[in-house]
Amino acid sequence: MNIKPLQLPEAEQLFSDLVSKIRPDINENVALVGVRTGGVWLAQRLHQELCLTLPLGILDISFYRDDFDRIGLHPKVKPSEIPFEVTDSHIILVDDILYTGRTIRAAINELFDYGRPASIRLAILVDRGERELPIAAQYVGAELVLPSGKMLNLQQGDDGKLSLSLYDKQLPE
């Protein structure tokens, strides 16, 4: 199923770039929140690299998706965990790929159900454009232009290494 129409960047290199872009803005009031599943891998690595004091948050946006009426509930929904006080916090939301912007819309909605943050910024490994909502990332590993029939996917190997691959639309979530 895996095809290679174009050269994809090295995910680990993009991650290093992302770390150096976020680092200047880190202080003890900043909290990271990863969006399941790829965003959580990134957020865990970022949390470690940037030595953050506030604990890592995890969001599963399944309950906030806008396509529930069409595709139903995601069968593998997992709990969200926000182990810090959201109200008045400065949050960096982390996801692997920014595409339509619908996932980020859902994530922001969910965060507001925990409280009123002072600010939310967005960190993304790959921005592939084609937004359907007015959402922009403040920290971006790379911008890529991809054929619209293709889905970009981030994987984590057994050794923890990140890699990108391209699929035909339909797979995977």
Binding site: D60, S62, F63, Y64, F68, I71, G72, L73, P75, K76, V77, K78, P79, S80, E81, V86, T87, N109, E110, F112, D113, Y114, G115
Partner: protein
């Protein structure tokens, strides 16, 4: 996959929840796993998620209930649905309207889901077989037949305290004969792979040939409770007391009421469950009901998460 189970749609997904009987373990586990994600919702600032926004849930209770109706109502509201509670005793039923006419009228008001409790076995099933394909029905207890969400919240509670089902001895104690809860529990426990399910009751409170459900039968608490990990108590319904089934509640308590002394025959870390409402001093002693092995109140709390899971899975299928 073409299914003959009226609860499943053509793709084998849950369309209605009528009974735990015949449901595959994958669906039971999907409900329990989904419920895990809903437990945390109650700890947030906003105890609500937008999943069923704009949907109408009708609670049709033809038989009195406090906690089941309330927890269904809370569950639906936490999912942002609009909830309509129908006080059936004061409605058209006593004017002679049939059950299906009532349901047809409510469907014409754009209902998306019916939660049904009825004193007759099969009522929810009847409604499910007559509604439009986009309407979902949840059985909240029908006669002495089934009470699937109670059984599921009990399974959720067991898994929370005992981690898995594969190494457990579970005893269901009390009025098995009239209990829809017991039937639904037995089906769920055996489907989820509990190796030993026991029922403990006097002969007058056991259905004929209950062994066929895959349970071991005991009439003596001392034998039946030995090495048990989970005790599922049942309510002794007062109305049964008046029939010839039992001599007196005092005598029942003496032989089958759960006291600390009888509980000590089970595993030292056994949990005690009860679907409520409690008859203290009849089927359970207050010291046990309020004791440290009791998980009766957590059951109620988990009931909300489990009902949220059932509603959201149904609404999405």
């Amino acid at each position: 996959m073409i299914s003959t189970n009226p609860q499943l749609n053509r793709s084998g997904e849950l369309q209605h929840l009528l009974t735990t009987e015949g449901l595959p373990a994958t669906i039971l586990l999907e409900i329990l796993d989904t419920a895990e994600s809903f437990v945390g919702v109650t700890e947030r600032d906003v105890k609500k998620i937008p999943l069923l926004r704009g949907k109408s849930v009708f609670n049709l209770f033809f038989e009195p209930s406090t906690r089941t109706r309330t927890t269904f109502e809370i569950a639906a509201k936490r999912l942002s649905a609009d909830v309509h509670n129908l006080n059936i005793a004061a409605s058209s039923q006593i004017k002679g309207e049939t059950l299906l006419d009532t349901v047809n009228n409510l469907s014409a008001m754009y209902a998306d889901m019916f939660v049904v409790r009825h004193l007759q076995s099969g009522a929810a099933h009847l409604i499910a077989s007559h509604v439009q394909p986009d309407i979902h029905v949840i059985n909240a207890g029908d006669g002495s037949h089934a009470h699937p969400t109670q059984a599921l919240l009990d399974m959720f509670t067991i898994r929370r305290y005992k981690q898995d089902f594969q190494n457990l001895r579970v005893a269901i104690i009390g009025d098995i004969l009239h209990s829809r809860v017991a039937r639904s529990e037995i089906h769920a426990l055996t489907t989820l792979g509990v190796p030993e399910v026991r029922v403990i009751a006097p002969k007058t409170l056991l259905p004929a040939k209950v062994e066929r459900l895959g349970v071991h039968v005991y009439h003596d608490m001392a034998k039946g409770l030995k090495d048990v990990d989970v005790l599922m108590m049942l309510r002794l319904q007062n109305e049964r007391m008046q029939s010839a089934n039992l001599p007196s509640s005092e005598e029942y308590f003496k032989y089958y009421g759960l006291t600390q002394e009888k509980l000590s025959l089970a595993q030292h870390d056994a949990i005690v469950m009860h679907p409520g409402p409690l008859n203290r001093g009849v089927e359970i002693d207050s010291a046990v009901a309020d004791g440290k092995q009791s998980v009766i109140l957590p059951q109620v709390t988990f009931g909300i998460a489990v009902r949220m899971a059932v509603m959201s899975i149904l609404a999405g299928n």
